[in-house]
Symmetry: none
Subunit: 217 residues, 4 copies
Amino acid sequence: MPKKTLQKIKAAKRDKVLSEAAKLFAQKGFHQADMAQLAARAGVAKGSLYNYFDSKEELYLYVCRHGLELSRQAVYGGLDPAWDVYRQIEHIFRQGAAFVRAHPEYLMLYLNVSSAGLEGFAEKISLQVEKHTADFLKKLLKEGMASGTVRADLEVTQAAFWINSIYIVFMASLVSRHFQIRLREYLEIKGRLTKKTLDMHLSRTIELIHSVLRPGP
Amino acid sequence: MPKKTLQKIKAAKRDKVLSEAAKLFAQKGFHQADMAQLAARAGVAKGSLYNYFDSKEELYLYVCRHGLELSRQAVYGGLDPAWDVYRQIEHIFRQGAAFVRAHPEYLMLYLNVSSAGLEGFAEKISLQVEKHTADFLKKLLKEGMASGTVRADLEVTQAAFWINSIYIVFMASLVSRHFQIRLREYLEIKGRLTKKTLDMHLSRTIELIHSVLRPGP
Amino acid sequence: MPKKTLQKIKAAKRDKVLSEAAKLFAQKGFHQADMAQLAARAGVAKGSLYNYFDSKEELYLYVCRHGLELSRQAVYGGLDPAWDVYRQIEHIFRQGAAFVRAHPEYLMLYLNVSSAGLEGFAEKISLQVEKHTADFLKKLLKEGMASGTVRADLEVTQAAFWINSIYIVFMASLVSRHFQIRLREYLEIKGRLTKKTLDMHLSRTIELIHSVLRPGP
Amino acid sequence: MPKKTLQKIKAAKRDKVLSEAAKLFAQKGFHQADMAQLAARAGVAKGSLYNYFDSKEELYLYVCRHGLELSRQAVYGGLDPAWDVYRQIEHIFRQGAAFVRAHPEYLMLYLNVSSAGLEGFAEKISLQVEKHTADFLKKLLKEGMASGTVRADLEVTQAAFWINSIYIVFMASLVSRHFQIRLREYLEIKGRLTKKTLDMHLSRTIELIHSVLRPGP
DNA sequence: AATGAATGAGGATTCATTCAT
DNA sequence: TATGAATGAATCCTCATTCAT
């Protein structure tokens, strides 16, 4: 979707544009983000952005897709298919949290797809985002059930949906002001959310999921 | 926060303004919603909106709070404290779903608080939104544990957080384009999401929660 | 020009409306003054203002004329025709200063007639404002010349113009931020303008005028 | 204070914008002047004005300062320090009158600084406007007194203040509708104010000032 | 006569996109 | 290819005035 010109410029400049765009869109949202400000932050001319992309919308879509690709690599890249279900799930959650901490902007972009007025982007992005994870989780659960490490009476689609729901809300709690406030209220945390607290919460979340998947005694 | 004038006009007009505002904000988002268009939809003059509220932002906040209050009444209003944990949770989910179906706009407004660029609203709304539910769920779980109907080894804050997370994602799946696409993908639904399908999914979701809370044999 | 209704209401209310109008117009200028705010300050309903006057413009004109009448009474009211030229001029300047101190709003309204965009008011007010003073000063000078107390080679119209110019600028220095800054710069005053300093400046100003009028030796 | 863009556009366009702005502000006043109308008169797009200045207020301030600078050059530019006091004062008054006739808009802007509601501009402009003239006049008078061409008993600050007051009122009479009406009334002029009449008045005004400064016999 | 809700034209400012250099 | 000045539609908010109560 981007123009050929985007591939002709130096990688460093391209990366700068994409990363600043991700940050700005994540900070302000699609409509409120300003192409002039983006150009300024990226250190390029306003007109140049239009040499790389046809429109703000194309830039936004590209940045989202790019971020989701980065996210997928970070989370699923180091995963060893030989691990059992439990280890793989833990890996996904921990790598996901690490990536979100390093690049909160991309999760913010993901959350934004559900925002009012951005339905048009959902049509273009959501499926390709969710399909990979849905397929992966279902396959994982099925294998677990086949090998007897996961309780047999599980409804796979349901369980995958539910695991991913927990994932989303946890990650959202790392980046969204609203979800942070909510987390503090639920977990009765008074001060700032420390990494330590969040890691403990993460461990418990993983353990909860594990406990639901484990076959009964 | 609204001006006195808002209370002085006829209830029908006030309700029309508030409900059209909720719908428009839910459809377009805060920034993209146009006060002129809202006035037109509500059947009042643009200037009148400013007789009721000091600014678009105040109107938005009021509409959000108003919607959250309506939601709370719908969900918790008909709840009987004598019911056991399971029935209460089922009630909350089913009433919540009914309310969201009747007034999807309010859930959309809730989701929007997590949107990029609307952090300012999170500071003003989130806590009062979440506190009620958090307190309620925790109290419910504690009572259940005390009476032996809920497994005793549960981490209450954690469980409340997790139940509410499931609730949020389920409700989001009723109103957000993105979450609908995601739901269809996870549940492998080909066509439209029918009420029947969603109700079945709801039942299973409730059952999942119940199963996690129930004491082991 | 005001409506009959204005005369039918209680004097206290009428005075309150007029005095608050004068203050508000003097503070904000004609266009920037807000009828709603005026109504609020005067303690009447917005609609009532339109029971008293046909329009903001009529109200403004009436307030100006009213203020100029008050000013004239204050300055020329206590003047004794038997006094000599010098005493009369001193009286005018001192009474003028006292009135302006008590009611700076009216002098501000006078200054505003020269403001950009208010030419329409000049046509309606200026002549009747200036005529009285011009006639008075000229008559005074002529009498002085006839009685030999004023130098005989004076150009009367010119002198009257010049005396009044000094008057205007002095009075402006009591109320206008710009003219206060200017006065401080010219008179090399460091801190605030005290009454004492201003009175000394007034005395010197009067003395300057006297010295120009006095016949040579 | 203006943006860099203002310096990058062609001088002709810049001059057009500034001169039309001066005229429009002088005609309508700050608040009543319309940026859209200004853009139309200057032959640029509304948005372009905001490429040159951050706001209407900055544009206004710049135009004022620019005009005051032009005025100073016109009045003090051709002045020869070797001239005696009387010739210098005459030069200032005559050059001032010529400039005001050529560019009445700038004097109108000066007068506006004293208008109600524009006190904010006074803080930012007045001092730098007045300081130059005040210093100049005082220096001139001191030199005259030192050389014996000006009467020795003069109070310098007072005299400078008074000379400049006369200057202001005279110049105001060239541009302000109110001051024109006032001048006609004082000088008993029936028809229009002709250049000839005004020049005669100017000569007499200069002569009056000279006569006050001259040492007694 | 008093009230204040309703009205809608008006005006400052923003910003995606274009295009001449 | 890069630049950034130019554009004008879009949008929030104000406020004099009206008129039903």
